[in-house]
């Protein structure tokens, strides 16, 4: 306990410092007028695509299921967040936080409603049912014009998403999922991916964990949706079509199913690509496809495989940390 007591808080402190430094640095850069508007937009976009990819990686990578309706949960969150903010129930940061949480929770509830029947069954039912769900939500939004603005879109949404808000959500999302995965709950999820019958014979309620993974995933997809709404200020249902789900899945596959770091890098690469190929925009999809094919040929497990970045490992490699970590003697609890 003592050795653990010395090392873990130190590592946590270093990680916290790095995170705060990153947020501060990003905030200064984005607010300081150093970047063009397009560059700023890309940075914000990268943020919510990281959340979307990291949250999809939970059921797709860690759990080994194939959800095809991530855009549906994003849509639920986007409209809930937008309506919450437009209603002006709360003000200031309370409103921002309230809207994000409401978006996440309603989205997670949808996740549970979809997940319970779909995940009780073995096989690929989840892919089909989530695909149907994604389309259904869009049609529903289109046909409720009095609430959602219908096909015309929902306008005058308060623009709450700045760098700070988006990237704090990014960090919360990554941390929460990371902490879950490095616990008995996360091990249960990974065990289901590796062998479901063996997991059941360990006395683990597999349905519970599948639905849980799915609900957490939907929660953060909802948050990302609300951030999306707060960035654009206007929502149209067609933003959340099937292609959006596929784009997110592509990021996760490209980065490496089951690697959070891969999802993050995938989101950065694929979202900022348009920035470097202006004028080539009509070839965007071709270039994506090409990229995906190349990765699948040369590194089928994705850019990062299942490797996950670990600040602990980096610190141990840099300088005199090695000695202290050896004393701890363990392998599995090295986090961040």
């Amino acid at each position: 306990m003592n050795r653990l007591g010395i090392k873990t808080p130190a590592r946590y402190a270093i990680n916290a410092t790095l995170i705060i430094a990153f947020i501060y640095w990003g905030y200064v850069i984005t607010q300081g007028g150093m970047l063009t508007r397009a560059q700023n937009n890309i940075i914000i976009q990268v943020g919510f695509f990281i959340i979307l990819a990291v949250s999809l990686n939970l059921p797709a990578g860690y759990l080994g299921q194939l959800p095809l309706g991530h855009a549906g949960f994003m849509a639920v969150g986007a409209y809930i967040g937008a309506l919450f903010w437009r209603s002006g129930i709360l003000s200031g940061y309370g409103s921002v936080v309230g809207g994000l949480i409401a978006a996440g929770i309603v989205s997670a509830i949808f996740g549970i409603i979809i997940g319970v029947p779909a995940l009780r069954l073995r096989g690929d039912y989840l892919a089909i049912i989530t695909l149907g769900f994604g389309e259904m939500i869009r049609v529903l939004i289109m046909n409720l014009p009095s609430i959602t603005g219908g096909a015309q879109g929902l306008q005058q949404i308060p623009r709450h998403s700045n760098f700070l808000v988006v990237y704090i959500c990014v960090i919360v999302c990554c941390l929460v999922i990371h902490m879950i995965m490095k616990s008995r709950h996360g091990r249960a999820i990974l065990a289901i991916r590796d062998n479901e019958i063996a997991t059941e014979s360990m006395g683990i309620n597999t349905t519970y964990y599948k639905v849980m993974a799915f609900a957490v995933s939907a929660f953060f997809a909802g948050v990302a949706g609300a951030l999306y709404a707060g960035t654009l200020g206007i929502l149209v249902p067609s933003d959340f079509n099937f292609m959006m789900s596929i784009n997110i899945l592509m990021i996760v596959v490209l980065g490496g199913l089951g690697s959070m770091m891969g999802s993050i890098i995938g989101a950065i690469v694929l979202t900022s690509l348009p920035l470097f190929m202006q004028g080539l925009n009509q070839y965007r999809l071709i270039i994506y496809a090409l990229l995906l094919i190349l990765v699948m040929i040369f590194k089928p497990s994705g850019l990062m495989g299942t490797y996950d970045f670990s600040m602990g490992h980096v610190l141990e490699k840099v300088g005199g940390w090695t000695m202290r970590s050896k004393k701890e003697g363990g392998a599995s609890d090295d986090s961040e």
């Binding site: 306990m1 590796d194 019958i197 014979s201 006395g203 392998a331």
Partner: protein, 278 residues
């Protein structure tokens, strides 16, 4: 019925006064038109090592799948510690005290050896989701205790040094041993081993025999094993049940079984002949 009727003969001589840890009454299952197991009766005492033998395709693994509720029985009933398991699924059956290994190894291949055992210890830990996200003290305490316990269990087979290896990268024999450790981690009162010595050489098998006995003595649990290696079965089993074509054909002590003409006819003659010719 005669005392030698395999359906009513009691398998164990041990602990005859105690509630059996497991009891099957006329268990049977059909797949479509095919009757894979029929009228299967067995009683296993709390600290007994029992064997289940029979030719390939006789229905042994199917019986394990029935006992662990992977399959629902078409007929009959099964009791764990006197409790009817009719309403249980695989998960509940494990929680009620039955754990198993698989003939075709089902490890969590992408996870480390230690993590495999920690999955087995899942229900021993009890911190909730919030505790894991916020890393409450109970998370650290629970994880530390579980890790210690896992290493302790691995040390039964002297595998503690492989803890950080990927399970899929272990040699075959070690994978079988890890499956036993992982099953033990769920704290069972009866452990089912499906061909634990398959693919092991002579010295490994001898070591396994010792370890199976050691596990029974250490944990005071019952062990029911399927095995083709007659040295192992005759060496450590106190009671043996023989099945052929899904039906019990004999039950008794190793000596009874070795001298039973029906068994020799159906199975043993051939197996022992093979063993001798090596």
């Amino acid at each position: 019925m005669t005392p030698n009727d395999p359906r009513t003969a009691l398998l164990p001589e041990r602990d005859i006064h105690k509630t059996p840890v497991m009891e099957c009454r006329a268990l049977g299952i059909d797949f479509g038109g095919l009757t894979a197991v029929d009228d299967f009766n067995i009683t296993v005492a709390p600290t007994e090592i029992a064997g289940l033998i029979g030719p390939n395709g006789a229905g042994k693994t199917t019986i394990f799948n029935l006992l662990t509720k992977v399959y629902k029985p078409t007929r009959g009933a099964m009791f764990l510690n006197g409790k009817n398991t009719k309403k249980m699924n695989t998960i509940k059956a494990n929680q009620a005290g039955i754990a198993r290994t698989f003939q075709n190894i089902r490890l969590f291949k992408e996870m480390t050896v230690l993590e495999n055992v920690l999955v087995g210890l899942h229900n021993e830990m009890n911190y909730n989701l919030l505790s894991s996200v916020l890393r409450f003290p109970e998370y650290w305490r629970s994880e530390r205790i579980a890790k210690g316990r896992a290493l302790e269990l691995l040390s039964i087979f002297n595998m503690q040094d492989d803890a950080s290896m990927k399970a899929g990268a272990l040699p075959y024999g070690s994978q079988r041993r890890l499956e036993i450790v992982r099953a033990l981690a769920t704290n069972p009162c009866i452990l089912l081993l499906d061909e634990p010595a398959a693919g092991m050489n002579h010295s490994e098998t001898d070591e396994l025999m010792e370890n199976i006995r050691k596990i029974r003595d250490m944990f005071q649990i019952a062990i029911l094993l399927i095995e083709h290696d007659m040295n192992l079965v005759m060496g450590i089993c106190e009671g043996i049940a023989v099945i052929n074509y899904g039906k019990l054909i004999a039950k008794g002590t190793p000596k009874d079984i070795q001298n039973n003409p029906v068994v020799i006819e159906a199975y043993l003659g051939k197996e022992l002949g093979n063993a001798d010719s090596h």
